[in-house]
Amino acid sequence: MKRLLTILTLLLMLTPVATPLAVEPEEILSDPGLEARARALSKNIRCLVCQNQSIDDSNASLARDLRVIVRERLVAGETDEAILDYLVSRYGEFVLLKPRVTAATYALWYGPWVVLAFGALGAALFLSRRRNVERAAPLDDAEAARVADLLREADADQDQHPDPEARS
């Protein structure tokens, strides 16, 4: 039921609004370059009354207002950063779907790397331990010769009866 939550939210949020469709034709800017920037920005801005939806996906009236604000400011010549700054100053960090790297979000942004570092360390320790024990018993010449014989036999055997599991 993984989309259910979104849907239920939508239902609660959008009643009595109509179908869940986003950007309306009359909002679209005539300059395709600016419109492309508006769309890219919109994908990073949260519809504050929706459940994890960007203003690009939502047709809640607030999302529509935010889309219009973004476009007005783009037309006025503001940079993407300035527009995001403005929205953050007005609505807080909550409005960004991609949180900025700040003290509060270090754990979010660097957490996966910390997990990777510890995991890699653990895996490296584990792998080296696995290897050391094997090295403890090197083959002497007689053993090596015997292994070579066995391998030759196994090869000959395999040519007659290809054993699919030999490599698996």
């Binding site: 239920l8 939210t9 179908t19 994908k43 990073n44 994890n52 779907l97 957490g111 696995r130 699919p164």
Partner: protein, 663 residues
């Protein structure tokens, strides 16, 4: 009457589960065969009782018995029969009954097919399975009774949420639950092994097929849900990194890791503690998925079950199950014997890397999904973590994994030859460069993303095919011999190749869609034309008709390309009067290379209609890739070594100790 029988059967199942979770466990500790032998009939009885309860609830839905509160709230007499049946699990209470039914089904399967399991292990596995049953049956009976009566009965029901009245979603929950709950088998086996204090390859031979079956179902379930979101929500997207989606994706990632580490336990008797830990984590993430959807924790009040108390009960169950298992792990795992030795560059080493990367990927999704909650609870600050974060954090972890997937299977067990493997991967390198070059030549403006994406997909596909071709010595021996060798390969080898190829196909689809999607939104009146990606769509007319339980407005968009007619798309806007709710039914024209996707919004004859058209390149490959992965899982599942009860084949891989001791 039938509803009361169902309620009674649920209570009976709880009683049986209590017996199943205690007596055989005690018997196993005492070495008492008679007490242990109680596990199998108990598991069968529990399954039967829950089946009766599920049947009773289904009967209520099929006959539209609105004196049952649950039916009255979620069904309607005019609803098509398919959705009457799927309505059983389209709500909190009914879906929990399905959950325990599948749980008991797995227990029943162990009871029915577990002849070759050591009796004490079987008794303990079934006991642990019984404990999970006790928790969830108790939860249903105490907080979520699906058989509650409603007197007086209303004349008709409130209908199922129209968005859920869809064939894709009818089968999505059962498959998803088969996956979620299927991981309970790995969990029960892990806990039973911890109690026994012993893990051997025989244990892994049992855990692998159950994990594989669960993984295959979960893959199918997630794909169905994603497909449904794609065509039903009318947004043209297929994955939103929504918390509920992530809740199903985390067990998938962990389960994928488990699937691979269980191979090492089976073949090489190594990675045992880690595999047990992974089994516990995977099922823990499944339980967390169940919790997240029902608690409303991440979403304030808009969850499946609005009652936060229910969420708390599931959280308590989660804590007891996973906390208990982890404590047991901490006590028992250090005493487990380490298994076979291997070099870092080896198949085992590759699978360790696979597990490392998949674990980091799981952790990334976990952190991203729960971070807003964590930050809010600790500092009161509110942040949003949405798709841009996940795309930035998740993709870099998956990229080395994709590189590795081609290399790992080329390495031998114990001691691999990396330069040799890389030399044999020249075909993969060529395919990778060819894919990147083709994409580069086709793009108008050079974008780096798709070139890299297709290079990775080409590498993965090339590597998988090369590995398979080498196994059957394709082009090195006569073709007939190669085909004979292919026939002699274990099915799990074919399954692996298919699953990895499926991943490559999926990557192509995902990369193409995220970089090359086009969208046009216009306000159109009948007779006007929309152009996108070389297609011209003309709005012929809007037709108003009635369905069985809805009214609909259907747009007729005739599609042509360079003047030649292609097809007619008929997107709909439906209105369901019972729930007072509109839905969109997108119209999709799928070809091998792209989807042409149309949806209509509000409008009227005078002001025109909002028409949205997307051109989504390679989107069909996303689901084709998932389908190939599922087929790979099924093929692998049909391997005789994994088939329950099949005799163990002689292995001719003597361990290092045996070789050394041979003189």
């Amino acid at each position: 009457m039938i509803a009361e029988l169902g309620h009674y059967a649920l209570a009976l199942a709880l009683c049986v589960a209590v017996v199943q979770s205690t007596v055989p466990l005690y018997g196993a500790a005492r070495g008492d065969d008679i007490l242990m032998s109680l596990a199998r009939p108990a598991a069968s009885a529990q399954f039967l009782a829950i089946l009766v309860a599920f049947g009773a609830l289904t009967h209520g839905y099929v006959t539209s018995d609105f004196s049952i509160l649950n039916v009255a709230q979620n069904s309607h007499s005019l609803k098509p029969m398919l959705y009457k049946v799927s309505g059983v699990w389209g709500n909190h209470e009914g879906s929990m009954v399905l959950w325990v039914l599948i749980l008991a089904l797995f227990g029943f399967a162990v009871a029915a097919f577990g002849n070759n399991l050591p009796p004490s292990l079987r008794a303990r596995v079934l006991s642990v399975q019984g404990m999970i049953g006790v928790g969830f049956l108790g939860f249903i009976l105490l907080t979520s009774n699906p058989f509650e009566r409603l007197i007086p009965a209303p004349l008709d029901g409130r209908d199922l949420n129209p968005l859920l009245q869809d064939p894709g979603l009818a089968f999505h929950p059962p498959m998803l639950y088969l996956g979620y709950v299927g991981f309970s088998m790995a969990f029960s086996f892990a806990v039973a092994a911890l109690i026994e204090g012993r893990v051997d390859p025989a244990w892994a031979r049992w855990v692998r097929p159950w994990t594989l079956a669960a993984w295959t179902s979960l893959t199918g379930g997630i794909a169905l849900g994603s497909w449904w979101a794609y065509y039903e929500l009318g947004w043209g997207g297929w994955w939103y990194w929504d918390p509920v989606e992530n809740a199903s994706f985390m067990p998938w990632l962990a389960g994928t890791a488990l699937l691979h580490s269980a191979i090492v336990v089976e073949k090489r008797d190594a990675l045992k503690s880690w595999t047990i830990l992974l089994a516990i984590i995977t099922f823990g993430l499944s339980l967390m998925g169940t919790f997240l959807v029902r608690s409303g924790v991440l979403t304030s009040v808009h969850a499946f079950a609005v009652d936060p108390e229910r969420g708390l009960v599931i959280l308590a169950l989660l804590t007891i199950a996973i906390g208990g298992a982890l404590i047991l792990f901490a006590i028992r795992a250090p005493s487990m014997k380490l298994g076979g030795m291997f070099q870092p560059i080896s198949r085992e080493g590759g699978l360790v890397m696979n597990n490392l990367l998949l674990s980091v990927a799981t952790a990334t999704v976990f952190i991203g999904t729960l971070y807003p909650l964590f930050l809010d609870a600790t500092t009161g600050e509110k942040v949003s973590v949405g798709p841009p974060f996940f795309n930035a954090a998740f993709v870099p972890v998956m990229m080395p994994l994709v590189l590795l997937v081609a290399v790992g299977p080329m390495l031998a067990w114990k001691r691999g030859d990396l330069p040799g493997a890389m030399a044999r991967l020249w075909t993969a390198a060529i395919l990778s460069i060819a894919a990147a070059g083709f994409v580069w030549s086709q793009q108008n403006d050079v974008a780096f993303g798709p070139i890299v994406g297709f290079a990775f997909a080409g590498w993965l596909a090339g590597g998988s095919i090369t590995e398979w071709a080498e196994r059957i010595a394709l082009f090195r021996v006569p073709l007939a011999t190669s085909l004979a060798r292919a026939g002699g390969l274990p099915r799990s080898a074919h399954g692996m190749t298919l699953a990895h190829l499926g991943l490559a196909i999926f990557i192509c689809g995902a990369v193409a869609d995220s970089f090359w999607r086009q969208e046009v939104v216009v306000n159109a009146k009948p007779g006007e034309t929309v152009s996108i990606a070389g297609f011209d769509l003309t709005l012929d007319k809007i037709e108003r008709t009635r369905g069985p339980n809805y009214q609909t407005e259907t747009a007729h968009l005739s599609v042509s390309r360079d003047g030649a007619p292609v097809t007619t798309l008929r997107p709909e806007r439906r209105f369901y009067p019972v729930q007072q709710m509109p839905t969109t039914e997108a119209a999709i024209h799928s070809t091998f290379l792209a989807d042409l996707y149309a949806a209509i919004g509000e409008g009227g004859d005078r002001q025109g209609w909002t028409v949205r058209v997307w051109h989504n390149p390679l989107v069909p490959w996303i689901w084709a890739g998932c389908l190939v992965m599922v087929i790979g899982g099924l093929v692998s599942l049909s391997d005789r070594r994994l088939r329950v009860g099949a005799p163990k084949r002689r292995t001719n891989a003597p361990s290092a100790a045996q070789v050394a001791g041979a003189d």
